[in-house]
Amino acid sequence: MKNKYKAIIFFLFFIFCFVVLYKGLDNPNTYTPNIKVEKNIPLFTAKDFNSNNYINSDKIFEENKYYIVNIWASWCVPCIKEHPLLMELSTNQSIKIIGLNYRDNLNNAKKFIDKFGNPYNQILIDSDGVLAVEFGAYGVPETLIIDKNKKIIKKFVGPINEEIVQEIKSIIK
C-alpha cells in the first residue's frame, strides 16, 4: 500500500516536471521587455540633427497629434529595409515622425537621409544611446507610437513591415 502511494507521488511529480519543461520549450530563449503597459514619454533635452540646437521634449511633442518615434542608424541594415515604409507613413498628415539617430556618425547619417529620403519631421541626435534607454529601447530599429495624451502606447522591436504599417494606420485613425 505504502509503495503504491510512493509510486503515485513519483508519477505525479514526473508529470509535473514534464509539463513544466514541455511548456518551457515554447518560450523564446530571449527576453523581450513587457511593452503592453502604457508609459508616459520621458522628459529630456536633445540635440536637433539639422540645427544642432538643444530642444526640450515638451517642445518636440507639443502638437495634439499622434507621434511615431523611430530609432535608426545609418549602420543599421534593417533600417534600410523599413525606410520606404516610413516614407509612406510620412505622407500621413495626422502623425509626426520623430527620428532618433542612435550612436551614429553624423556624416554617415546625413548621407543615409540624402540617399533614402527623409521621412522625419524632426531628427534628434542620440550619440551615446542614453535617449534610447529613456524610451525603454535596447537596439535599432525600434518604433514607438505615442498617443495624443503623450503616452507610449505601442512599441515595435525590429524593422516595421507592411502589417505593422496597417496596424499603425488603424491606431491613428
Binding site: P33, V133, Y138, G139
Partner: protein, 113 residues
C-alpha cells in the same frame, strides 16, 4: 588642506566606483542575455553604464537606479529578483524543499534507531 580635499575626493570616487560596479554586475544585458552589463561590451551595455554613472553622480540611491531600469525594461533586467507575488515560488520553493528533505531525513534516522 589641498591634500585633505584630494584624499576625500579620491575616497569618494573609489566608493562611487564600487557602487557602480556592484550595480552593473546586477543588471542583465538585454543584447547579450547571458552576460551582465558589467561584462558586456554591447552598445546597450555602454549606454546603461553611462546612465548608472550619471545617476550615481546625481546621488541617486542604488534602489532608485534599479527602479528606473525596472520601469524601463521590467523586473527581469535585475539579476537579483525581489520578493513579490510573481516570485513567491522562486523564493519559497527551495525553503520548502529543504524543510521537506530535513523532515524525511529526521523520520528516516528515527526509524533506523
Amino acid at each position: 588642506m589641498f591634500l585633505f580635499l584630494g584624499t576625500t575626493q579620491l575616497k569618494s570616487n573609489e566608493k562611487n566606483n564600487e557602487i557602480k560596479n556592484k550595480i552593473l554586475k546586477n543588471i542583465r544585458c538585454l543584447i547579450c542575455q547571458g552576460q551582465s552589463v558589467y561584462d558586456s561590451e554591447s552598445d546597450f551595455a555602454s549606454s546603461i553604464k553611462l546612465i548608472v554613472e550619471k545617476k550615481i553622480d546625481e546621488e541617486s540611491s542604488e534602489e532608485q537606479i534599479y527602479e528606473f531600469l525596472k520601469e524601463k525594461y521590467g523586473n527581469w533586467i535585475i539579476y537579483d529578483p525581489e520578493l513579490n507575488k510573481n516570485t513567491y515560488i522562486l523564493w519559497l520553493l527551495p525553503l520548502l524543499l529543504f524543510l521537506l528533505g530535513g523532515a524525511i531525513m529526521v523520520k528516516k534516522l528515527r526509524f533506523t534507531k
